[in-house]
């Protein structure tokens, strides 16, 4: 494995924890990196972690991370050979992949025509149906009237989804016809803002299914392997928040069937690079193809820890035209991994986004725990992007120990300034139903709808009172106020 680096230089077209993750993976393989950032991300850690950094422009995603022209120019200008898109933003945008291809840049992902084919959920559904893989009944993207008629024909509840792009963005459950139009309009706006395309499709809503997805990796020479499943049932507002591998609901027989379905789809689509095939699993053990994600997933670390691979390394290697060194029979799953996503949101105010300056940050260090973080103390968490701050992932030889490790890591995780969902996550992963592995996509609504943050214990009140009884010393505990005068005026180096 003392082979040459797959590329000399890669531009990482993303921000936050996934940019940090990809930059680190590149460094480990001896690949130089170019970070990109918007003006709002000047002090985000990915910027100085890379060998070079290019400012794309203002905070607005359209002007920065979604700006194909600027990204391609930055990659060419820096002499990058390849572009890694991360997840979100342009990761599943076939135009971006095509723009890279046309500029002579290797896009670390499938060819643009595969992204277009699988990224279009209607086309992907039809492909699955042709291959005999069951799908959830529904209706492809269409105008408002057509979708409303289709919803009435299918019967409520139905789900609205972005036709392009994943991650639960824009997803809405509509329980009856009254608010259908209003909800559809809102979904279209959110989807347009996230992916630049307001096409929305419709599906029958299944009762309390599990969300189970299969990780695949393919090289250019027709070798495709699957790395087992992840259970991503625990969601809030259709956003995954806790993921694990293996799924407590999947036995070796079902794993083989899910894996085979995913491989069949990938082969038929001419898939190359890492990807995910998502399924719903009903309470009778039947599975339905949901969609294919033609990129790295947020939750990829749980697969890495259980399968003992590095997915970003594999992505870079197959993108460089190398053969997969991994064969299906080499894949051995060991132990159990659970991930929790840490968001800048306020569970005490309806999970409203909570941007702002990070005043104190102490991420947990525990054996078996990995924290993929994209923020640092002192930086401003921008209001313009996804609220994910980091992911806490615990591995252990068995599920109960992995969950215990995760709970301890969440307890030791200190982030002050923006509000976070850490306390909510802690109560979630220590909930009896979660500990028993009995979850569905309705888990949060069923078990934690009435969740409330605990009241402060007397010792917290006493400490707070004694601290606040002091007159405030200086404007803030943060360091910018401590810098002597000349630095305060340092152009471009002031904290936002």
């Amino acid at each position: 494995m003392t082979t040459a680096p797959p590329f000399s230089k890669v531009l990482v077209a993303n921000r936050g924890e996934i940019a940090v993750r990809v930059i680190r993976a590149c460094r480990e393989l001896g690949v130089r990196t170019v970070a990109v950032y918007s003006e709002a991300d000047r002090h985000s850690p990915h910027v100085l972690l890379a060998d070079e950094a290019v400012c794309l422009g203002p905070a607005e995603p359209e002007a920065s991370y979604l700006n194909i022209g600027r990204l391609v120019d930055a990659a060419c200008g820096a002499g990058a050979e390849a572009v890694h898109p991360g997840y979100g933003f342009l990761a599943e945008n076939p135009e971006f992949a095509r723009a890279c291809e046309e500029a002579g840049l290797v896009f670390v992902g499938p060819p643009s025509h595969v992204i277009a084919a699988l990224g279009d959920k209607d086309r992907a559904r039809r492909l699955a149906e042709r291959l005999g893989i069951p799908t959830v009944p529904g209706h492809p993207a269409a105008d408002d009237d057509t979708l409303e008629r289709a919803a009435r024909a299918l019967g409520f509840p139905v789900v609205l989804k972005a036709a392009a792009g994943g991650g639960g963005r824009g997803m809405r459950v509509v329980t009856g016809p009254e608010r259908f139009r209003e909800t559809l309009a809102s979904a279209r706006r959110e989807v347009k803002a996230a992916f630049g395309d307001d096409a929305v499709l419709l599906e029958k809503y299944l009762d309390r299914p599990r969300h189970v997805e299969v990780q695949i990796v393919a090289d250019r020479y027709g070798t495709v392997v699957h790395l087992g499943e992840r259970d991503c049932s625990v969601q809030r507002r259709h956003q995954k928040i806790v993921e694990e591998s293996p799924s407590p609901a999947v036995d070796p027989h079902l794993r083989r069937r899910l894996g085979e379905a995913a491989l069949r789809l990938a082969r038929e689509a001419g898939y190359v690079n890492a990807g995910t095939v998502e399924f719903l699993l009903d309470r009778e053990g039947r599975f339905y193809f949901l969609e294919a994600n033609t990129r790295l997933q947020v939750e990829h670390p749980v697969t890495e820890l259980v399968a003992g691979v590095d997915l970003v390394h594999l992505q870079l290697q197959v993108a460089a035209g190398r053969r997969l060194s991994l064969r299906q029979e080499d894949v051995v799953w060991r132990g159990h991994a659970v991930e929790a996503r840490v968001y800048a949101e306020d569970p005490e105010r309806g999970f409203a986004p909570s941007p702002g300056r990070i005043l104190l940050l102490r991420e947990p260090h525990l054996p078996g725990v990995r924290v993929d973080s994209g923020v640092q103390e002192g930086q401003e968490v921008p209001v313009h992007y996804d609220p994910i701050l980091s992911k806490v992932v615990a591995w252990a030889p068995d599920r109960p120990t992995a969950v215990a490790r995760l709970a301890h890591a969440l307890q030791e995780y200190v982030l002050l300034g923006p509000r976070t969902n850490l306390g909510f996550l802690l109560d979630l992963v220590t909930h009896p139903a979660f500990l028993a592995g009995e979850v569905s996509t309705q888990f949060v609504e069923d078990q934690l709808a009435a969740w409330q943050a605990p009241d402060p214990p007397p010792e917290a009140v006493a400490l707070a009172a004694a601290l606040l009884a002091q007159e405030p010393r200086g404007p803030a505990p943060v360091a910018s106020a401590r810098a002597p005068d000349p630095w305060e005026r340092l152009a471009g180096a002031r904290l936002p």
Binding site: P355, G417, E459, A460, A462, L463, A464, L468, A469
Partner: protein, 164 residues
Amino acid sequence: MSVRVYLLCKGRQVPVEVRGSGDGYAVRVGGRELRVGWQELSPGVAEATVEGVRLRFCYARQGDALQLHLAGRVYTFTRTREEVEARGAKPEQDVRAPMPGLLTRVLVEPGQVVAAGQPLYVVEAMKMETVVRAARPARVLRVLAREGEQVEGGAVVVELEEGA
């Protein structure tokens, strides 16, 4: 030294008496007195003794607001300078912006009568759209921000008059 402070936490206000003593503080809250002292290990990270029990906590203070991390939980306190009327869930809080963000649409006008649950405006932050609705039937008094404006969290965007 003895100071009376009013702490606001989770919408409730608690009066607390803090008395400095030779080796720390005596804090009287809810009829109970706790002896506390602490030592900072590094800025914002401290070890405390509360009634003889040692524990570790972290904190960040901004003016009269304090976040405290203790035993895996973050609690937020605000010191109010004087005793304010005990707050419940006041009706007008429902129309405050739930977070800082972009006011993407205002759906009502001054003078308009709105039903319970009717959308008033939409704020977008961190790629999430939040629709703010009227909690009860009311009449719109004023609209205090325009579409396309950035609004602060907690800012009043629409003023309502109930029972109108």
